[in-house]
C-alpha cells in the first residue's frame, strides 16, 4: 500500500487535471480515508487558485524598442573582425559622434546648468539656451582646441532604448567577448586590460583617444539619464538606431547628483588609462538611480 507521501505527485497532478481515470480512482480511495491528504489537497488547490489570481504584468514601456535596438546593434556588430583590438570599431557607425557631443540632463535635473559644465572641466562650445544641458564639450581636434562652434543640426533629441544592458560590451560585443574574454569575466568586474585607441570621433573624421578593453569597447550605462530627455549630438545616433553616444571621460568622473553608474563601471573607469578621453555611453532611464 502506498504511503501518504507517494500520493503527493498524484494530488498535484489532480489539481492540474493531469490524472488518468485509473490514477484518479486510486487517489480518491486514499483521500476519502486520509485526513492529512485531504488537508494537503486543499492546500495545493488553494495555492493553484492563488496563482490564478496573480494576473499578468504589463511589459515595461520601451521594451520592444529596446529589443529592436539590440537586434540592430547586433546586426551591425556581426561584421567579421580583422584584428582583436579593433572590436570597438564595430560600434563606430552606431556611436559615431559628431564633432560635438552634448549631454543634457533629464527634466528631473533642472538644477543643472552651465556651472556643472565648468565643474567637469568641459568647454561649453555651443550650449543652446536650454536649461536641460549640463555638459557640453567639443571633440578634441588635432591641436587640442575644443572651443569650436557647433552646427545647430547636431543638437537633437534622440530616443534611446532603456532596457539594453550594455555594461561592458553587452550584446553587441557578445560574439567578440565570448571569443576573447576570460571565463570568469562578469560585467566588467574582473580585470581586463584597458588601453587607449585612437579613433575617429563622429563624422568629422577627427580622432580622439578612446577607452578600450582587451575584449571590446567599454560601454557605460548611465542610470538616471532619462532616455527621452537626454539630448546629445551625434551623427551616428541621430537616427536613433542604437542609442550610443560618446562622452568625454572627464564628464563621467564628475557626474551630477541623480546620475549614476554601477559599481563595476566605476571600477572600470578608475582603471582607465590616464590618457583615455572618450568612452561609449548608453543611457538608461531606470527611475531608481543606483549610486556608485
Amino acid at each position: 500500500m502506498k504511503k501518504c507521501e507517494e500520493f503527493a505527485p498524484l494530488l498535484s497532478a489532480f489539481v492540474d487535471g493531469e490524472l488518468t481515470e485509473e490514477e484518479r480512482a486510486e487517489l480518491r480511495a486514499h483521500v476519502m480515508e486520509c485526513e492529512a491528504c485531504q488537508k494537503l489537497l486543499g492546500e495545493m488547490t488553494a495555492l493553484h487558485e492563488a496563482f490564478g489570481a496573480l494576473g499578468e504584468e504589463e511589459v515595461p514601456a520601451g521594451f520592444t524598442e529596446g529589443v529592436m535596438a539590440a537586434v540592430r546593434a547586433e546586426k551591425a556588430a556581426a561584421k567579421p573582425q580583422t584584428k582583436k583590438r579593433s572590436a570597438w570599431r564595430r560600434m563606430a557607425p552606431l556611436a559615431a559622434c559628431a564633432a560635438l557631443v552634448l549631454l543634457a540632463a533629464a527634466v528631473a535635473l533642472p538644477q543643472m546648468d552651465k556651472k556643472s559644465v565648468n565643474d567637469a572641466d568641459m568647454s561649453p562650445a555651443c550650449a543652446p539656451e536650454n536649461r536641460k544641458i549640463y555638459a557640453v564639450t567639443g571633440a578634441p581636434s588635432a591641436d587640442g582646441d575644443t572651443g569650436e562652434d557647433c552646427p545647430e543640426q547636431y543638437c537633437e533629441e534622440v530616443q534611446a532604448s532603456p532596457y539594453y544592458d550594455y555594461q561592458l560590451g553587452g550584446a553587441a560585443a557578445d560574439e567578440f567577448r565570448t571569443a576573447n574574454a576570460p571565463a570568469d569575466l562578469e560585467n566588467g568586474s574582473s580585470e581586463p586590460e584597458y588601453y587607449c585607441e585612437t579613433a575617429p570621433i563622429g563624422e568629422s573624421g577627427r580622432e580622439g583617444k578612446f577607452l578600450a578593453a582587451d575584449y571590446g569597447p567599454p560601454i557605460f550605462e548611465l542610470y538616471g539619464a532619462g532616455a527621452t530627455d537626454y539630448v546629445l549630438s551625434s551623427g551616428g545616433v541621430k537616427d536613433g538606431d542604437a542609442g550610443f553616444y560618446c562622452v568625454p571621460i572627464a564628464a563621467l568622473r564628475a557626474l551630477p547628483e541623480g546620475l549614476g553608474m554601477t559599481q563595476a563601471q566605476t571600477e572600470t573607469l578608475a582603471r582607465a588609462p590616464a590618457d583615455a578621453e572618450w568612452v561609449l555611453v548608453y543611457p538608461n532611464d531606470f527611475s531608481e538611480v543606483p549610486q556608485p
Binding site: T20, V31, G42, E43, M44, T45, A46, A53, V67, V71
Partner: protein, 206 residues
C-alpha cells in the same frame, strides 16, 4: 502576415516582421521572466536576452515546431543564466543550494497588511522566489504560463515523470514555506475546507 510568414520574413532579415513577433510574445515572456527573476529589472534583461537569442537562432528554427514553446525554453534559460551569471539571488534568497533550505523570514503582518489579495500575492511572490530554480521553472510554466505537462516536457526537455514530480515537489516546498510564513493558509482557509471533497467531484480527469 501570420506567425509562420513573420518567422520566414524575419529569418530573411526583415526587422519589422521580427518586431511583430516580439510584440506578439513579449507579454508572456516578460511575465515568465518576472516570476523567474523576481524583479522587473532582471526580468526585462532576461526577456531581452530571450528575443536576442530568438533573433540569433531563427536560422535554425524548424517551422513545424511551436515558436511559443521554443521561446519559453529560451526564456527559462535566459533567466537561469542571468541568475547564475551574476550570482544574483531572488529577493535575497540564495539559489546556490540545490538542497531545499527555505529560509522563512518574519512575515508577521501588520493589521494594514491583512488585505487578503495583496498579502496573498506578496507571500506567493516570496515563496516562489525561495524555490530552487529548477523547481521554480516548472511551477511557473505550469501555474503562470498554464502549460500542460506535455508542453512543459517540450519546453524543458524533461521526462514526464520528472515534470510531474518536480511540480509536486515545488508545490510541497511552497506550501511548507507559506505555512511557516504564517497566515497564507489562514487567508485561504475557506479554500482548504472547500477542497476537501473535490477529489470525487467535478475536476476533469485526463
Amino acid at each position: 502576415m501570420n506567425e509562420s510568414e513573420l518567422i520566414r520574413a524575419a529569418r530573411g532579415g526583415d526587422e519589422a516582421a521580427f518586431e511583430q513577433l516580439v510584440r506578439l510574445h513579449e507579454k508572456k515572456i516578460y511575465n515568465l521572466c518576472l516570476r523567474m527573476c523576481g524583479n522587473a529589472e532582471d526580468a526585462a534583461e532576461a526577456a531581452q536576452d530571450t528575443f536576442l537569442a530568438l533573433w540569433r537562432g531563427l536560422e535554425g528554427f524548424r517551422e513545424d515546431a511551436a515558436l511559443a514553446t521554443w521561446l519559453y525554453r529560451l526564456a527559462s534559460n535566459a533567466c537561469i543564466d542571468l541568475l547564475r551569471r551574476g550570482k544574483r539571488t531572488v529577493d535575497g534568497v540564495s539559489l546556490d543550494d540545490e538542497d531545499i533550505h527555505l529560509e522563512v523570514r518574519d512575515h508577521a503582518p501588520t493589521p494594514e497588511q491583512h488585505i487578503e489579495g495583496q498579502e496573498t500575492r506578496r507571500l506567493l511572490h516570496e515563496g516562489l522566489a525561495a524555490l530552487p530554480e529548477d523547481y521554480r521553472k516548472v511551477l511557473v510554466l505550469r501555474e503562470l504560463e498554464q502549460l500542460s505537462y506535455d508542453e512543459i516536457c517540450k519546453v524543458t526537455a524533461l521526462e514526464l515523470g520528472t515534470v510531474k514530480s518536480r511540480i509536486s515537489r515545488a508545490r510541497l516546498m511552497l506550501r511548507n514555506y507559506l505555512a511557516a510564513s504564517g497566515n497564507f493558509f489562514e487567508l485561504s482557509a475557506s479554500k482548504v475546507t472547500e477542497c476537501n471533497q473535490t477529489v470525487g467531484g467535478e475536476r476533469n480527469a485526463k
